[in-house]
Symmetry: C3
Subunit: 347 residues, 3 copies
């Protein structure tokens, strides 16, 4: 069993190089604060540079531009990516042993792939299909006709409403609800009549969804989470929303019904987008933003309502200047009054 | 089995009329984008009018004011309401067959109405009463002494703390928690002592609550969700709140303790109201608003803190004008300085 | 059984005194609105003073500065704290009877303390340790190697990912997820690669966490919730966050990764803090605030982005004055133009 790693070996694994002793051995990875002499630590955020001096780490993973005297360095082109690779290598995540708990209830019409693992008190309804090596956590509920792709992992207590489709290699965390009814009512004479929600949720491959997040089914069509998109905890994706590939939605973000979001879009924490909007590719939405109109490709927006990030910053600066502007206005009034008084006197 | 519908038949069902061929048959409903020649589509939001030209839909459901050449139209007084009615007619929602799963645990003191359906791994505690035809999803937990009205549906994994009362014809989505403790502490010398939360949650008839939302019990009295109110996902209703009939609370909204909300109030997404407030009837609260003081009937408020919606818009416009105001101020200063300099020279 | 309480007896229990009849008996506690002649009511928030006149309460719990004619008063140094003490005394919370449900699945390697109570369909994995008198609600899932301290109560459907540690006397509400993966990805060529999340969550003693809240595990180290901290519903605490003792986090608040929060910090509802920040001791963060930079001890901040609370209020006031400032600017321009015109005429 490999419990110590040569720096040179890790460097070649991540396409990097060693600056110092290539035969230095490390046994684990830890933060600068927690690392001991047997640990590799890392400096991927310059904010933590001050912690370097007192760190007891045996070696430091850094980016190409970083110089540190008297330390054995593992220099990687992208040190945060290298960190992910090294942690994967040192800590391969165990999969639960295949097998269906005798306490799970699998409907006779469900189709299970090879080597699935299903925990106790999970429920798999009729017509559901589970790909090879899927993992269904304790107490999860897989509704009728749902489909789950290969190697996808559902943590405990995930609920898939009927007809939900989840792709391959997804990771769905505890408490997530996929396929609940969209929030659609026809209001007539003050009474809200439910519009039947007949569509579904489609989660493409390689998606991760954080704990207790919810994705509602489309009214008629799909709500779709694109390939490689990552969603944090307590996020709300409403009915009929389409999120393109490689999105990032941070915690407590929300997207209202029928909004279409392009590829590689980042939505920071506690931000929201109104319904029926089009948000382009590679857009970045700052934290706590309210997007109330369409956003073109490659924009960086902030504010309530969202505007270009620089406009938002300028507005903030001008609001800060308001006391000064008011003083200058008052001074002008006094100077002008003095001129007027004198003119009047001389008239 | 009815799998095709005459336009004339649907028109009479929704109190509308056909503009075009009344004998046109449709087999389903789809969005303008997805509809084929056998489908009825709809134009309920003018934003989607451009999609009409290329739609392959066989017929279009529209409101009275809409004119479209060369299409068979179903003209309804309220097309969105008609859409709800047509979908209900075409897709009657199946109820699960009555029966109690052998894997559910029903306490001996629980009272079950006729034709209830209880899923596997559900728990119904002593003293709980379930009305006729109630549905309790897999893994739901119904606490002691709770009561659920007729025809109410609890999706999987709903939790009702002891003493929670839910009315008739409600729909409670997966992961909802009703009756958790209110967030009440008496802080003394820096330590937070829990104030016992002894009240309950009352959900009146015809209420829908979205996935993973939470409603806390009152400290002593009730937290009450009024008749016909619809609540979206991930909404928080705190202890002692009273929400009147026919409210609409969109996703991730939150209402703090003891606030009273009138009837027909709309709270848009990610908005919040502070505690101990009174919010009148027919109030509309825009998205991302923070209500920090009482709101009179029929107000439309926005902003942090909330103000009248027009005031909020005017403030936004004025903040946008700040660069211009600053330029004008600077120009005034220069002109005044010029006058002062000349006056001085001429003195 | 004690079902009536002398005012004098309650007064001595809370270190207070009776102003009126010490032999007055009360049988319960109710709000001013709901109380009858046998009830003690309370005035802990001056906002409710108008309800006093019409209250039918037999006696009123008040603070030292409050005078009310013609009422029997229980005067306590801290009436809200006294309310908590009196409610605890009148309504001691029953614990479920000890015992493990035959429908719970306890792994052979789990260690259970004395007098634990475990509900149906709960799952306790191998290596988990449950302290004496812990309560595990129906459907809760305790992951491998987790540890729960004495007298801690987990409500139904709580999920502890493997390796989570919860202290003594904690109360974790339904639907809470502790130990989910942090939201960490290394983005390379537009693809998000998961950074393995190998740390854990540590919840210290006397912590309460509200329904459906989530706390993610650290990437390498801990996410830590300090002693006596109280967390409301639908709150998100991200990976590597440290919250000091005696914090209060209201509903729908969120704290991003690696931020460190001092002791006795209050975060009001729907507020958020960005990642990698330091927030000092005894800080108060107003509702709907976005903290984007470090906050020193004892600050009271508000706004997006957060600034000192007084600065925020001043900015709001100045923005409200903008129409007036604009009018004054316009008046100045006219007066100056008049002077310039006259000067020109006289030149």
């Amino acid at each position: 069993m490999n419990d110590a790693w040569l720096l040179s070996e890790l460097a070649s694994a991540v396409g990097g190089r060693v600056d110092g002793d290539p035969d230095r051995r490390v046994r684990g990875v830890a933060t600068l604060e927690d690392a001991g002499p047997d640990d590799l630590s890392f400096l991927t955020n310059p904010r933590y540079r001050p912690a370097l001096a007192s760190s007891r780490a045996g070696a430091i993973l850094v980016g190409p531009a970083v110089r540190i005297e008297g330390r054995d360095l593992l220099v990687a082109p992208d040190p945060y990516l290298a960190l992910a690779e090294i942690l994967d290598r040192m800590h391969p995540q165990p999969r639960p042993a295949p097998g269906v708990s005798p306490d799970a209830r699998i409907a006779s019409g469900a189709m299970l792939g090879h080597d699935v693992a299903i925990g106790p008190f999970a429920v798999v309804a009729s017509g559901a299909r589970l790909g090879d090596r899927t993992v269904v956590g304790a107490g999860a509920v897989i509704g009728e006709g749902s489909a789950i792709g290969e190697d996808t992992v559902l943590r405990p207590r995930v609920v898939l409403y009927p007809g939900t489709r989840v792709g391959a290699r997804c990771l769905i965390h505890a408490g997530v609800v996929l396929g609940g009814d969209g929030f659609g009512y026809a209001t007539s004479a003050g009474t809200h009549r439910k519009v039947p929600q007949l569509g579904c949720v489609v989660v493409e491959d390689d998606v991760e969804i954080g704990a207790n997040s919810t994705v509602d089914r489309g009214t008629l069509g799909e709500t779709r989470i694109g390939h490689g998109t990552k969603i944090d905890n307590l996020v709300m994706v409403a009915h009929g929303v389409v999120i393109g590939p490689y999105g990032l939605l941070a915690a407590q973000a929300g997207v209202a019904g029928s909004t279409r979001i392009g590829s590689h879009v980042t939505i920071a924490g506690q931000s929201g987008a109104a319904g029926h909007l089009t948000i382009g590719d590679r857009v970045v939405i700052a934290a706590k933003t309210a997007v109330l109109s369409d956003v073109p490709d490659r924009s960086f927006v902030a504010g309530i309502p969202a505007v270009d990030h620089r406009t938002w910053k300028r507005s903030l600066a001008l609001v800060k200047m308001l006391p000064e502007l008011r003083s200058r206005l008052r001074a002008l009034e006094e100077r002008l009054a003095a001129i007027e008084a004198r003119d009047k006197g001389s008239a």
